[in-house]
């Protein structure tokens, strides 16, 4: 869906840097650049943030968590497992652009709302958690109290008087529609309506008067919702509601203070993991096929091990080491069980359970030298420099790879003895693939030639010494590296990788594409990341910006 009638110079999107990526020879001449576009001019405040939806829909995970919290359940109900999925919207699953209520999803929501409502009324304990006890105040008063309290959680703000009255009317109509106890019929009917309401399904943001600089400050409850969905992937808790009511979220300092509190909660870990899981495509680790004749140790269970290893590593980097991109790319702390220990040539400290180890400083570095990434970007038998290189270009460097041609020309005959030589003979310098493969894709992938199809370290490939050295354009010059360790270090120190990390976090945190207007902020965050800012601090910066706490006035649709 395009936005109409905005000046094209302002609304032009940053060409979606993470999107190119078919893996064929590129006989193209356009320069392959690894930078993020954007304007360096000072813009007015209103042009410092892009226009965005006032109706971002809950993701299915957010729906689950929100239902749990509205109904005070112990665990998410799990109903969304059968919901219609959403189309891909880039790297992350929370891009507001693709989150729509289609007829099929609407039917899913309806059925789930009805099931939730009947689930509650069939269990007195669940009803008691939502409805005030009968202390002689009368059913009308109890119904109102129930509607006000549960409605506030469902809409993530206090209900207006007309909204309360509408729901009371619905409550009173229920006994004519639902058999059994009339009061419970009311509870059931109202719950069903709350979960089908657009005020539950969307994080509706209202409209109000702009500030003098033209930006519209979000209301306190809207800020609370943005905060809680970003850091906990669910609705605000009572503390946040109280903070909203008390005006504590009206300032960027106040937002930051609450964000710090929330980051210390275990729920924040799930969000941080979700970011890395999607960015580094952990899901792919679970469904890998390796030739059992070559890799008998690569048993089916190892897929889940690789995911768990990666999760434990990310948790350690972000929450124990309080690190950022540098630690992610260079920390040698690892978590292995007996199945993974062999790949890393270490002993498993806890046997079948995961245990913490330090990997060999000569052979391993951070996440790009770990078995998950390497095996997921390896073929059934061999390393796969092209996939590894494309991944690093797209996901770590946000490099713009122009689309490859639609029709691949006939290939030159295979020459060379090592994987690297074969790939280079087809796509390297001096071939038609030189512009992208030769300068960007191949070097970024050759760096990992010390690791085979399942991520084991090797000094030889096919009986010949591995050559993992190359150079890549970073910081305006060519940066040379000797292997994946020095390559990881170069990436960690580069402006490009740190801006890319910041851009990805911005897209994930805000649930939208990065736009031209974000370029300055991304550059600032990237520089901070390059000089040591942790992931936690990066998140705090993201919540204490105008892009987080204000809206840009919309260009009204024609």
């Amino acid at each position: 869906m395009e936005i109409l009638s905005a000046p094209s110079s302002v609304m032009r999107r940053i060409p979606t840097l993470l999107r190119a990526g078919a893996l064929v020879l590129a006989c193209l001449s356009p320069a392959c650049v690894g930078t993020i576009g954007g304007s360096s001019e000072d813009q007015a405040a209103v042009q410092s943030i892009p226009e965005r939806s006032a109706f971002p829909r809950l993701t299915h995970a957010q729906w689950e968590n929100s239902v749990r919290d509205v109904l005070r359940l112990d665990a998410p109900p799990g109903f969304s497992a059968s919901f219609t999925g959403d189309p891909l919207g880039g790297v992350f699953d929370n891009n507001e652009a693709v989150l729509s209520v289609t007829p099929n999803l609407w039917a899913d929501y309806q059925r789930a709302a009805e099931e939730l409502a009947s689930l509650v009324v069939s269990d007195p304990a669940k009803v008691d958690a939502l409805v005030p006890a009968d202390e002689g105040q009368g059913n009308e008063a109890r119904a109102r109290a129930f509607i006000e309290a549960v409605g506030k959680r469902a809409y993530r703000r206090p209900l207006t008087a007309p909204e309360i009255n509408q729901l009371v009317a619905l409550f009173n109509e229920a006994p004519s529609l639902i058999d059994g106890d009339p009061f419970l019929a009311g509870v059931e009917h109202v719950l069903s309506a709350l979960f089908q309401s657009p005020h539950f399904i969307y994080r509706v943001e209202g409209t109000r008067t702009p500030r003098p600089d033209g930006l519209i400050p979000l209301g306190p409850y809207e800020r609370a919702a943005r905060l809680s969905y970003l850091l906990w992937n669910t609705m605000p808790d009572d503390v946040l509601f109280e903070a909203a009511a008390a005006g504590e979220l009206d300032t960027q300092e106040g937002l930051r203070t609450h964000a710090e509190r929330m980051l210390a909660d275990p729920q924040a870990r799930d969000v941080v993991l979700a970011f890395h899981r999607q960015l580094f495509d952990f899901r792919k680790f679970e469904d890998l096929y390796k030739d059992p004749a070559v890799f008998p140790e690569f048993v089916p269970e190892i897929g889940k091990d690789l995911v768990r290893e990666a999760e434990l590593f990310v948790e350690d980097v972000v929450f124990e080491q309080e690190g950022g991109l540098t630690a992610l790319l260079t920390s040698r702390t690892a978590f292995v069980n007996d199945r993974l220990a062999g790949i890393y040539e270490v002993d498993a400290p806890n046997g079948a359970e995961f245990g913490k180890v330090e990997l060999d400083a000569e052979k391993r570095s951070g996440i790009l030298t770990r078995a998950g990434f390497l095996a997921a970007n390896g073929t059934a038998r061999a390393s796969d420099p092209i996939h590894r290189g494309v991944f690093v270009n797209l996901r770590v460097l946000c490099a713009r790879l122009p689309p490859p041609p639609n029709n691949v020309p006939p290939l030159p005959p295979v020459e060379g003895k090592t994987t690297r030589e074969i790939v280079a003979s087809h796509t390297g310098k001096g071939t038609c693939g030189a512009s992208c493969h030769g300068t960007l894709i191949n070097p970024a992938g050759f760096a990992f030639e010390n690791y085979d199809a399942i991520g084991r370290y090797r000094a030889e490939d096919n009986g010949f010494p591995v050559d993992a050295a190359d150079a890549y354009p970073l910081g305006g010059g060519m940066a040379s590296f000797s292997d994946a360790l020095t390559w990881s270090q170069l990436l960690a120190e580069s402006r490009e990788a740190n801006e890319c990390f910041a851009k990805n976090w911005l897209e994930f945190a805000y649930g939208r594409d990065a736009e031209v207007e974000d370029a300055k902020f991304i550059a600032k965050l990237g520089e901070a990341s390059r000089t040591g800012m942790s992931v936690k601090e990066l998140l705090l910066e993201l919540v204490s910006s105008d892009a987080f706490s204000t809206r840009r006035p919309v260009e009204v649709a024609q």
Partner: protein, 458 residues
């Protein structure tokens, strides 16, 4: 009865009626013209083994013209011979091209065009590129279904994340999510099928009461002055999606079939379950058409550049995508796969047999005046032509005459016509109209030459 149990019961306990009895509402009185024609599209990825500069013809018959079961059986080395039983209802159409280039990825470019005949987006590009207009199943549903009734959009196989669903477009760049899990698809369509009519009436009243409130809330949000276009479109789609329950139709699969779907549910995306899932989805499609639930359905076999590892003679093969490139790589270089074209041909046959399963299901619904298959048209199509992933000679195999509109029992070579003309003609066969009220002769990008594909009209 407790509603929770009741709702649970919807999906657990199906009508214990014999298969053909379970869609009784239409069966009893169906006569010629009573069943509005429908269209079903099954997509195969990665092209087929048809004649190229260095590979033999293994897909089409050797001669154009009339098809008979005997003539097709005589050429058992051709993939379409799997369908010889349906010779008299077959319409093989060679010579269909995609009109527009892809944008950096042949697969997404082909997937985007095969049911839309539209250009491919420049942003996003590559494997994420999208079609610039609606697909024919959407057009059929929009024009011929009751308001708010979607085309059925199903999927069999893994979602690998490189390219997932490619077929059904609501509008330019707005792709419709495909349901990969049969039990979800079944519940969404027929979940209420075994409710007692009185209970159903009450449920309809409850839903109406909630829907009225929700519609009011939606209208209030939609009446905001400062709505951007994307938000207006989003709320419009949501508002149109709210439907009241219609009481009356009772359609269900057997208890055993539904139970098998429940069992399949956690592993519906697994590589090894693709063919089973495809057949379950086809059961649902056939039932949906028998019950008049929708007039258009799509089923996509495999992900965008189908990476399924199919079994041939009991042996799990390399990914179909690699086989289709004839090399052991998803890129452009890699060691050759020995006999890859023969493996590809076998995979073409696997698709032919899956398609035949759909035909068998449709044919099994005897409506008195003919089988369900004759009232509609089922299409087995591809989003690429051959091993070079070309956009020319993309195979379209039609079965069923859409209630006599299409001229079946023949193999035609239309010699280079854009696919919009074929898709439009299928739309016209079902009753879709152009802006002037004539038969749909301008489907697809407005730059394309207009006209019907007269060669296939009876």
């Amino acid at each position: 009865m407790n509603r929770r149990h009741l709702l649970r019961g919807l999906f657990g306990v199906s009508l214990a009626l014999p298969f053909l009895e379970s869609f009784s509402p239409r069966k009893a009185e169906a006569g010629a013209g009573d069943v509005p024609p429908f269209a079903i599209f099954m997509r195969q990825a990665n092209g087929v083994v048809q004649q190229t500069n260095d590979e033999p013809e293994m897909f089409w018959p050797s001669q154009t013209g009339a098809l008979t079961t005997e003539s097709m059986k005589a050429e058992s080395d051709r993939a379409v011979s799997e369908l010889s039983e349906y010779a008299s209802r077959l319409l093989l159409v060679k010579g269909i091209n995609f009109a527009f280039p892809g944008n950096g990825c042949g697969h997404s470019g082909g997937g985007n065009q095969c049911l839309t005949a539209q250009k491919v987006s420049t942003d996003p590009v590559g494997n994420e590129s999208l079609a610039m207009g609606e697909s024919i199943d959407n057009r059929i549903a929009r024009e011929l279904n009751a308001p708010g009734v979607e085309p059925l959009t199903l999927y069999a196989g893994k979602k690998a994340g490189y390219i997932n669903e490619v077929l059904s477009y609501r509008d330019a760049k707005v792709i419709r999510a495909a349901e990969h899990n049969p039990i979800n698809a079944y519940k969404a369509l027929f979940g209420l099928s075994d409710l007692d009519p009185e209970v159903l009436k009450r449920l309809a009243a409850q839903r109406k009461s909630v829907n009225d409130l929700v519609r009011e809330q939606m209208q209030s949000l939609m009446s905001r002055k400062e709505l951007g276009k994307a938000d207006r479109d989003r709320l419009d789609l949501h508002f149109q999606s709210i439907r009241d329950l219609e009481v009356g139709l009772q359609c269900a699969l057997t208890k055993e079939e539904v139970a098998a779907m429940e069992v399949m549910s956690p592993d519906a995306r697994a590589n090894d379950n693709l063919e089973k899932v495809a057949r379950m989805q086809m059961d649902i499609i056939a039932l949906a058409m028998a019950c008049g639930t929708t007039r258009a359905a799509t089923i996509q076999i495999g992900d965008g550049n189908d990476s399924t590892e199919y079994y041939i003679n009991g042996v799990r093969q390399k990914s179909f995508h690699k086989i289709s490139h004839r090399i052991d790589s998803d890129g452009s270089e890699g060691p050759p796969i020995e006999g890859a074209y023969l493996l590809h041909h076998e995979i073409d046959r696997i698709h032919a047999r899956m398609f035949k399963y759909l035909l068998d299901k449709l044919a099994a619904y005897d409506l008195g005046s003919g089988s369900l298959l004759d009232f509609g048209v089922a299409v087995w199509l591809n989003d690429l032509g051959n091993k070079y992933h070309s956009y020319t000679d993309v195979p379209y195999v039609l079965v069923g005459g859409a209630n006599g509109y299409l001229k079946t029992g023949q193999y035609v070579d239309v010699n280079g016509v854009h696919n919009g003309r074929l898709l439009g003609t299928i739309g016209a066969a079902l009753g879709c109209k152009n802006a002037a009220g004539g038969p749909l002769d301008d489907f697809g990008d407005p730059e394309l030459p207009k006209g019907m594909l007269t060669e296939i009209i009876a």
